[in-house]
């Protein structure tokens, strides 16, 4: 939105910075404290000397490995399915488009346990599709595949929404130009649309991976909980809480560190701001 004129004007007025109302600063401080305090409390609560033992226990290592082994494929599936889905929802017009879009967003707002219940209704052994699959000897419940499905189900909307918002704001004139110059639809998609989508794809991937990594309710309801097969980090943390709260705290730290690492890798590096091109 900012024009060159705006920018020069703001530069001229720099000494007279508008600033922020004191109330806003105070509330912002409160908000920051609210966010940061639990993490500080976690660090204070950890028995650092026990940490190596707690984190290298076989159940903890199994849980971490399983979490990565499921969240990564789930994220890849979300990319492969989410990009076309977002594209179709944003750029085509078909009857029931609004309804489809609403349904895609439903996993965002329902409790994950509900997601697990409806997945069971569909793919569980006596479920709608599960019964047919079962007849072919395919049993999804209680397998690692069920974990990936649960994670994909709850995190796909994150991919679709972040892509859709970029598709919506970037317009289509570059694509139209490319096609008027004779580029095929596929070539236009690969050389124009995808590069333009990059920021959305990155934030979508981060959100998707983070959501998949943190997935709990749908997994425990649909996939079950067995060490090395379906018991991911969140399930392990919840179970450890029963008998060994210290271990739960230590594992929480690991999950938080992984999350911070993912966010850092995705955001804290120079990326070209393609947004301004479109606006």
């Amino acid at each position: 939105m900012t024009t060159r004129e705006d920018r020069t004007r703001s530069r001229r007025r720099r000494e007279l910075a508008v600033g922020v109302p004191g109330v806003a600063v105070a509330l912002a401080l409160l908000a920051a404290t609210f966010f940061v305090l639990p993490f500080i409390a976690l660090l204070v609560d950890i028995t650092w000397s026990d940490l190596p033992d707690l984190l290298t226990s076989p159940s903890a290592l199994d849980a971490l490995a399983l979490s990565l082994r499921t969240a990564i494929p789930a994220t890849l599936i979300c990319i492969v399915l989410g990009v076309p889905l977002a594209l179709v929802l944003a750029r085509t017009n078909f009857p029931g488009r609004t309804l489809t879009r609403s349904i895609v967003l439903v996993p965002l707002v329902i409790p994950p346990v509900v997601a697990g219940i409806i997945l069971t209704e569909a793919f569980g052994r006596s479920g709608l599709l599960g019964e047919q699959l079962s007849a072919f000897g395919i049993d999804i419940a209680f397998t690692t595949a069920a974990v990936v499905m649960a994670q994909t189900f709850v995190s796909l909307p994150f991919m679709v929404t972040s892509l859709e918002s970029h598709l919506g704001s970037s317009g289509q004139h570059f694509e139209r130009m490319a096609q008027s110059l004779g580029a095929s639809k596929w070539r236009t998609f690969v050389t124009i649309t995808l590069p333009l989508l990059r920021p959305g794809l990155i934030s979508g991937t981060v959100l998707t991976f983070a959501r998949a990594l943190g997935e709990f309710g749908a997994t425990i309801t649909f996939a079950g909980s067995l060490q090395g097969t379906t018991r991911t980090m969140p399930l392990e943390i919840y179970l450890a809480r029963e008998t060994d709260p210290d271990a739960a705290v230590a594992l929480s730290l690991v999950l938080i560190l992984v999350a911070i690492a993912v966010i850092a890798v995705a955001y804290f590096r120079p990326t070209k701001n393609t947004d301004s091109v479109a606006s």
């Binding site: 967003l105 965002l108 707002v109 329902i110 409790p111 994950p112 346990v113 069971t120 569980g124 052994r125 006596s126 049993d139 419940a141 209680f142 994150f158 929404t161 972040s162 859709e164 918002s165 919506g168 704001s169 309710g217 425990i220 309801t221 996939a223 079950g224 909980s225 067995l226 060490q227 379906t230 018991r231 919840y238 179970l239 450890a240 809480r241 029963e242 008998t243 709260p245």
Partner: protein, 263 residues
């Protein structure tokens, strides 16, 4: 457009974080003079709800608020200072921990009921199961509680007593999760408490586990160390042990408490 999505994401985050289990809010009746807060194991919900009527009839001036949750969750709540007058857990180990932590008033501790472990199968019993051995066979989806929670520890020890190594497809956090997976037909068999099986008797069939009778799971009850109304708390514990209280428990499938051989 983007604003709308941002809002949606925020709302989502709020919803996601707000989805964990709710605690039963009580009916704080200011007209009553005294109120009693009872922290009880989730498996006691039906029994204590049923008993509260009879108790209030006998003690009209005392109103009771119940908080039902997993025994170890209750213990953690007490440790972090939640106000309660009575603690009733589903196993003696958790009560022992509460006692070690000085959270309960030791002389008031009593055993008031017992539960045994049984096997359950979906009503149509697709895998044709009648014994633990059948349920434990390869290819059978057996679901048990994780050994970190009381029902799982009991399952482990019942299996150990018969020289069986459990071979489950899933180890759940709570009995209700085991029940849910058998009810929905996801699992072929599950190990749960007799009382849970009784509550779901229209959807699941029960089979006996060899040796389970010898390993009852005793339910202890005690006043908390910082109970604000010891008299009312004592009255409730007395009622639970009375004929009326015991009758309610028996109706729901609980047995009388038994002293285990060791300990």
């Amino acid at each position: 457009m983007r604003h709308r999505f941002a809002t949606l994401l925020t709302v989502t985050a709020l919803v996601l974080t707000g989805c964990s289990g709710a605690t039963g809010g009580g009916n704080a009746d200011s007209a009553r003079d005294r109120s009693l807060t009872v922290f009880a194991a989730a498996s006691l919900q039906q029994a204590f709800d049923d008993m509260s009527e009879g108790f209030t009839a006998e003690h009209p001036r005392i109103s009771i608020e119940f908080n039902y949750a997993g025994s170890s969750t209750l213990l953690q709540n007490l440790e972090s200072g939640a106000p309660a007058d009575i603690l009733a857990t589903a196993d003696e180990a958790t009560m022992e921990m509460a006692q070690q932590a000085g959270l309960i008033d030791r002389p008031t501790r009593e055993l008031f009921a017992a539960n045994t472990l049984v096997g359950i199968v979906p009503d149509d019993n697709p895998a044709n199961i009648a014994t633990l051995e059948d349920a434990n066979a390869n290819g059978v989806n057996l679901v048990v509680c994780a050994s970190q929670v009381p029902c799982g520890a009991l399952a482990q020890s019942v299996a150990d007593a018969t020289g069986t190594t459990l071979n489950p497809v899933s180890e759940e956090q709570q009995v209700s999760d085991v029940l849910g997976k058998v009810r929905s037909g996801q699992a072929d068999a599950g190990l749960v408490y007799a009382t849970d099986a009784a509550l779901a008797s229209d959807e699941v069939s029960t089979f006996e586990l060899e040796g389970a009778q010898d390993q009852p799971n005793n339910y202890p009850i005690a006043q908390t160390a910082n109970s604000s109304d010891r008299e009312a708390a004592a009255a409730f514990i007395e009622y639970v042990q009375s004929d009326a209280g015991q009758a309610v428990l028996q109706d729901l499938g609980f047995a009388a408490p038994q002293d285990p051989d060791d300990s």
